[in-house]
Amino acid sequence: MILNILIAILLLSGALFFLVAAIGIVRLPDLYTRMHAAAKASAFGAVLMLAATALHFRDLWTILEVVVIVVFLFITTPVATHLIGRAGYRMKVPIWKETRVDELRDALEGNVHDSLRCDEHDDPSMRHSSRSPHRDHTVHEG
């Protein structure tokens, strides 16, 4: 009986996560924020509903298949979302006007040339132009 209640809670909460993802994909202003809502909430909702399936059947093959689907979803959803995001950025899909950080533009245009200039002239003031410590590290290594 407790197991049935747990299955019901898992099913309903998974469906609610799907509803959150759909509301996000309708209401958010931007391709990139929509991807953020769609990828994360929908993967979590699918995991909850598949966990309800595994709890309902409780035999080895069903649990194994649920684990396979969940692992596959957790691997492929970020990859697919990343690919769509990069393609959208290359297509110059407009970015929401309140977006502050655009790291891909820095990587594509600005800071790549900055690091090259740092290599040539060894200007210490240029080292603080890049924000992420990883890029600082590449600059120091030369």
Binding site: L11, A22, A87
Partner: protein, 94 residues
């Protein structure tokens, strides 16, 4: 309680089907209206993952474990389709 025609699990599966249909309608609205092609690809991806959740709920409701195979096949096919679409979009820029 043998007289109960709908058990708790079946009832919750039915309610979650209603919620999933609402989510599908909202996502279809974005699919029709989406102002860019990338928006539509995101909406298609979300529709497929909602269908995976619906297949899981239907498997629980009908007590047939074999139906879960279609969820795994759908997950595989959707990933391939999304990757192919993204590469097509990226190639069409140049």
């Amino acid at each position: 309680m043998q007289d109960a025609t709908v058990s708790l699990v079946e009832l919750s599966a039915l309610i979650s089907f209603g919620v999933l249909i609402l989510a599908l309608l909202l996502t279809f609205w974005r699919l029709f209206r989406g102002r860019d092609l990338a928006d539509r690809v995101v909406a298609l991806d979300l529709i497929a993952i909602i269908l995976i959740g619906g297949i899981a709920g239907y498997t629980v409701m009908t007590d047939v474990a074999v139906l879960l195979n279609s969820a795994s096949v759908l997950a595989l096919i959707v990933f391939l389709g999304t990757v192919a679409f993204a590469r097509y979009l990226e190639r069409s820029v140049k």
